[in-house]
Amino acid sequence: MSMRPGRRHFLRITGAIATAAMVGGPVEAQRRRGTMRELEAAVRATVGEGPIVEGRVTVEIPALVENGNAVPLTVRVESPMSADDHVRAIHVFSEKNPRPSIVSFHLGPRAGRAEISTRIRLVDTQTVVAVAETSDGRRWSGRTDVVVTLAACLEDA
C-alpha cells in the first residue's frame, strides 16, 4: 500500500476544490467582450513584431464547455526540445475575455516535452489562441474554437 496519493485521489480533491470555487453570487448581465483585434494587439505586445506562422501548436479544449470558470486547457508544440532547438515560451490568449492575456509558460530543453495543461476562465463562446516562441527566434501559433454554455463569473459577489 503506497503512502503516495494516487491519481484518483488527486482528481477527486482537485474536483472538489474546483466545485467549491464555482459557488458564487447571482449571474448578472455580463460586461463587455473583447475582440479579435484586442487579441492581436496583446499578441504583438507579448512577442513583438515579425512573422507568426500557423502550425506546430495544438490548443486542446473540449469543444463544448459547460462551465467557463474552470476550462481544461492543454497546449502542445511539436519540437525536439533539444539544447539547440526548443520551445522557450508559450503564450495563451482569449478573444472575448475582458483581457486577452490568459497565461504564459516559460520552458526549455529540460522540459523534455512542450506540453502543458492548466484550467482557465472563458467568459463566452470564442477562439483561444496560443503562440509559441522557439529557440531560433521564430513564432508559431495554433487556435481552437470553444462553445461555452455557462460563462465564467464576472457576476457580483
Binding site: R99, L107, G112, I116, T118, L154
Partner: protein, 107 residues
C-alpha cells in the same frame, strides 16, 4: 486561510526519462472584474508567477493573468537528470508567497 497544495512528482525515475509534474495551489484568483454587494469593485488578487526549480535550476515557470481559474492547476514535464529536490514557488498579490518541495530519486 491556510494555503493548501497538491504536488505530484514521481518518487523515482530513470535518468533521462521525461516525468510529469502536477501541482495545484488553493487561491481564489479574484479577477478584479467583480463587484461586492454595495457595488464597489472587488480588487484583483491573483497569483502572478509560478516557478519550478530542479536542484536550483529553473526548469519551468508560468505568468498568470486573471483568466487562470481559481486554485491554479498546472501539469508540465521535466527531464529526470539527477536525484534531488524539486521546489515549487507561487508568488502573487498582497504578499502571497508559498513554497513546496518534493524529492526525486533518479537511477
Amino acid at each position: 486561510m491556510r494555503t493548501r497544495t497538491l504536488v505530484k512528482v514521481p518518487a523515482t525515475a530513470r535518468r533521462g526519462e521525461v516525468v510529469e509534474i502536477k501541482v495545484l495551489v488553493s487561491h481564489p484568483m479574484e479577477t478584479g472584474f467583480r463587484r461586492d454587494r454595495t457595488g464597489g469593485a472587488i480588487p484583483v488578487d491573483i497569483i502572478r508567477r509560478f516557478e519550478c526549480r530542479y536542484d536550483g535550476d529553473t526548469v519551468f515557470a508560468a505568468d498568470f493573468h486573471p483568466a487562470v481559474a481559481a486554485n491554479p492547476f498546472l501539469a508540465f514535464t521535466t527531464v529526470a537528470t539527477t536525484s534531488g529536490t524539486i521546489t515549487f514557488e507561487w508568488v502573487g498579490d498582497n504578499g502571497f508567497a508559498h513554497r513546496e518541495s518534493a524529492e526525486i530519486q533518479v537511477e
